[in-house]
């Protein structure tokens, strides 16, 4: 690619934003709450992509965007009826456009098999006569207009008010006006009514002037937007078509016309030299026609607020996060030192220390917030996945998203994309029934898939709920036995059967479809979620649907942990998985078989897992009743009691990965540094609970594969 790669990168970044805007607009259009401005926004997004892609000679992208844009232009000028079919095509076109942008970025050729049908569909809305020749993509040609549309479009009126930033960034209205004048015969007037009366009210760097430029002999407003391509967010811009019907000059509400302009001239000359020079070039070749009321007032484009976001290299944020992690550790070191110093309680140092703690926590939360991103873009991608999956399976599915504003760590958002894709596809392919079956079951023909995100005390819960048939447990069990995942005489509880879905190599699909059914999906989902420190749970009601809940930690770098000791070692158990801590009485413990013990709690029996044993420590003589049990909840076994020697404290710990320098260890998800500078390992309760002692009936291959997947 000859273009400078950094410019190209910027282009793709902008494309991403534009595609988000495009998708949003299309969703609004589909939901029927779109107004003209929405259509315009969609149109401009496509047009901007096309324009920039043209500059980089990305021909396939330009070609497709052009066709897309042409259809949208028809829609926004109300020449095309927005029916179901059109909306569907537009959505697919949006998807393809996103694909093409990706292809262009990766330098891979576009998949013509996918692109061409959509291109043909788009063409079908245009009919034969609007079939435009390819050279129309040449941008210089645009301004010449389309001869056949001249009659309908005598020109456009551009109202342009540069803001402070416009001038501050070194833009010059003269150049803009000169560029507009090249598009066709133009009339330029200036509106100085915003000027303050007295010099004392005058803010030196504020833009007070509005230019009204009427350009004749131009068929579309595209070239006008092209002129403003890099300035549209730093000036107020309004483009309205001139009406052919109203020949007689009608004075607009807020627009003084040519006669007013001459009056204004002396003032302008004082205020600003450039304005004067443009005035000298004013030509009067088109009648001054104010915009029709529709275009004038209701078509008012709200001034776009300058987006006050900052693009930062994630590397820098990561460095900051590391430093904050050190700060938190350092804070606990200092706390510990001060405690050891046995200062009198009245010491002011304690107050200062508390302040320090608060500050450290505040900084940490602030830094984490930098990485937090709303799940909205992720969910929007899922809309597309659902659409494609529904098309491929011939089912009617509506994906409803909730809680799009929920913010999650960037890494989590990124790494959730694949698992969610799998799950959405699975839900549509296996969960939601075919329309006729739904009818037979007395349900609405259109299946609903609900994708929701919400925050629950320190973790994010993402739910994917379908209203399909629910899990077919006997079938799942039969398949698991057939595939050798469980032995045929195993007695499984319903939740255990449900969890078999996540076993590697499990697939309920009778035949492999190209959508899902390779039997890798759910296994990959679980591995990915576990790698993020999350959990996944299934609940299903036969005939009413299945809900998958993913629970994820809010951030990956810091978590709340319970400090425990086992076999003389200090370790950390994530608070998120601890339901309660119990100091058991002798009578609460029952023996099960040779070694296993059960804890009786509120009439339920819960298996006891010795943490030390699972970590390979030599067995202790200590009785369970002398130890402390942590009642933990895991995805594989509903509840289990983890036996530890003692518990100390509950505190925020900074998670350090073991992967980089050592590799992964079964049962350990990471490490942290304690106040005394020692390292404490962070326990992975799921792996511990489903350790060799526990998976008595779920075949060992599941375990082996999981640990293998972690290692890789």
């Amino acid at each position: 690619m000859p273009a400078d790669s950094s410019i190209l990168d910027t282009f793709f970044e902008e494309c991403e934003d534009l595609i988000v805007a495009l998708t949003e607009g299309l969703v609004e259009m589909r939901d029927g709450d779109a107004d003209d401005e929405t259509v315009n926004a969609v149109f401009r997004a496509v047009h901007s992509i096309k324009g920039a892609a043209g500059a980089f000679a990305l021909d396939e992208l330009v070609g497709f965007a052009h066709k897309f844009e042409t259809v949208l232009d028809e829609v926004r000028s109300h020449r095309l009826e927005t029916d179901e079919k059109l909306l569907r095509t537009l959505q697919r076109a949006g998807d393809i456009l996103a694909d093409l942008v990706d292809d262009a970025r990766d330098g891979t050729p576009a998949n013509r098999d996918v692109v061409d049908p959509v291109l043909a569909d788009l063409q079908s809305f245009l009919g034969e006569e609007t079939l435009e020749p390819e050279e129309e993509f040449v941008f210089e040609a645009m301004s010449l207009g389309f001869a056949d549309e001249d009659a309908a479009n005598p020109g456009y009126k551009v109202s342009f008010t540069p803001g402070q930033e416009f001038y501050a960034t070194g833009n010059d209205p003269v150049l803009v006006i000169a560029a507009l004048k090249e598009l066709g015969p133009a009339t330029v007037t200036v509106d100085d009514s915003a000027l303050p009366d007295g010099i004392e009210d005058y803010v030196w760097d504020k833009g007070y002037l509005t230019w009204h430029i009427e350009i004749g002999d131009i068929a579309t407003d595209l070239p006008i937007y092209d002129v403003f391509q890099f300035m549209d967010d730093i000036c107020e811009l309004r483009v309205t078509p001139l009406d052919t019907g109203a020949e007689a000059p009608v004075v607009g509400l807020d627009e003084p016309l040519a006669n007013v302009a001459s009056e204004a001239e002396p003032v302008v000359a004082i205020e600003e030299a450039p304005a004067k020079s443009t005035r000298a070039e004013v030509t009067d070749s088109t009648p001054n026609v104010p915009s029709p009321p529709k275009g004038g007032e209701s078509g008012d484009r709200p001034a776009k607020k300058t987006a006050t976001t900052l693009r930062v290299d994630p590397e820098r944020v990561d460095r900051l996060i590391n430093a904050v992690g050190e700060l938190i550790i350092n804070q606990s070191v200092i706390s510990q030192r001060i405690e050891e110093a046995a200062l009198p309680n009245s010491s002011e140092l304690f107050g200062d220390l508390d302040d320090y703690k608060l500050l450290a926590r505040e900084i940490q939360e602030g830094v984490m917030a930098i990485r937090a991103q709303p799940v909205k873009p992720l969910f929007q991608r899922m809309l597309r996945i659902a659409r494609e999956a529904a098309d491929a399976t011939g089912k009617d599915v509506e994906l409803v998203t909730e809680g799009e504003a929920t913010e999650v760590d960037k890494t989590v958002v990124e790494r959730l994309a694949d698992p969610l894709t799998h799950m959405i596809r699975n839900a549509i392919d296996h969960g939601i029934e075919a329309p006729d079956k739904r009818k037979a079951a007395g349900k609405v023909q259109t299946g609903t898939l609900r994708l929701s995100a919400n925050q629950r005390s320190g973790s994010i819960v993402i739910e994917i709920a379908d209203d399909g048939a629910g899990l077919n447990r006997p079938r799942i069990r039969a398949i698991a036995i057939e595939k050798g995942l469980v032995s045929s005489d195993a007695v499984l509880t319903d939740p255990e059967i449900d969890m078999l879905l996540f076993a590697p190599g499990f697939s309920t699909a009778a035949e492999v479809t190209n959508l899902s059914g390779r039997g890798v999906g759910m296994d990959v989902v679980k591995t990915a979620i576990t790698a993020l420190g999350g959990r996944i749970a299934i609940s299903t009601v036969p005939g009413e649907g299945t809900t998958f809940s993913i629970t994820l930690p809010l951030t990956l770098a810091v978590m709340d942990g319970m400090i425990i000791t086992i076999g003389g070692q200090t370790m950390v158990v994530p608070i998120s998985s601890i339901l309660e801590t119990i100091r058991p009485a002798e009578s609460d413990i029952s023996k099960l078989g040779l070694k296993s013990e059960l804890l009786k709690i509120r009439g339920e029996y819960v298996p006891i897992v010795d943490l030390g044993e699972q970590l390979g420590h030599p067995p202790t003589d200590k009785k369970i009743s002398d130890r402390i049990l942590l009642l933990i909840q895991t995805e594989s076994i509903a509840q289990c009691a983890l036996a530890v020697d003692d518990i100390f404290d509950q505190r925020q710990v900074v998670v350090k990965s073991m992967q980089g320098n050592y590799g992964s260890i079964v049962g350990v998800s990471g490490a942290t540094i304690l106040g005394d500078g020692k390292i404490a390992l962070i326990i992975d309760p799921d792996a511990i609970a489903s350790g060799p002692g526990m998976s008595s009936h779920i075949n060992a291959s599941l375990e082996g594969d999981r640990s293998h997947a972690r290692a890789s």
Binding site: T570, G663, G667, V668, I673, L681
Partner: protein, 155 residues
């Protein structure tokens, strides 16, 4: 140019010599981050016997390997007098527990001889070459062979 000591052809290399399992070894100085005294480690579950555990090195979690045990000698019983050499290879940082560190040895690269072939064992597999020093010689350790392999660690 014809001089054998030409720096473009024969590089000056520096090695840190050390004792592990009672024998002399050396590690190229560029692979060494620092040398520190033994401090207690946090034991890792399910780890090989030569993996002692992990320590906190200014906020990073560093695994510590008993070099003598890894090379097939008797395990070192660590005391205050033992030394940990922090090494960095391929972005991984690993500490090696050794009995002692002696000196920095500056040699020309042509002084490093190929390991004479003999029966293989854990030690010879980890040797890159030998350097004669006075009447004795020292062996250059190939650090990559010592790295705990992630699949091994998980098993």
């Amino acid at each position: 140019m014809q001089e054998p000591a030409d720096p473009t052809q024969i590089k000056k290399l520096e090695f840190v010599t050390l004792v592990a399992g009672g024998q002399n070894f050396c590690i190229e100085i560029t692979q060494i981050r620092e040398i520190r005294r033994w401090s207690p480690v946090t034991i890792l579950p399910h780890s090989a016997s030569h993996v002692l555990g992990v320590i906190n090195l200014r906020g990073a979690v560093i695994p510590i390997i008993d070099l003598a045990a890894k090379l097939g000698f008797e395990k070192i019983e660590p005391t205050e007098r033992h030394v940990i050499i922090i090494t960095a290879i391929d972005e991984r940082i690993v500490g090696l527990l050794v009995e002692s560190v002696s000196e920095i040895l500056g040699v020309n690269s042509d002084m490093v001889r190929e390991t004479p072939r003999g029966p293989e064992d854990a030690t010879t597999r980890a040797i890159l070459g030998v350097i004669p020093v006075g009447d004795d010689m020292t062996k250059v350790i190939n650090l990559t062979t010592l790295m705990p392999n992630s699949s091994q660690a998980a098993a």
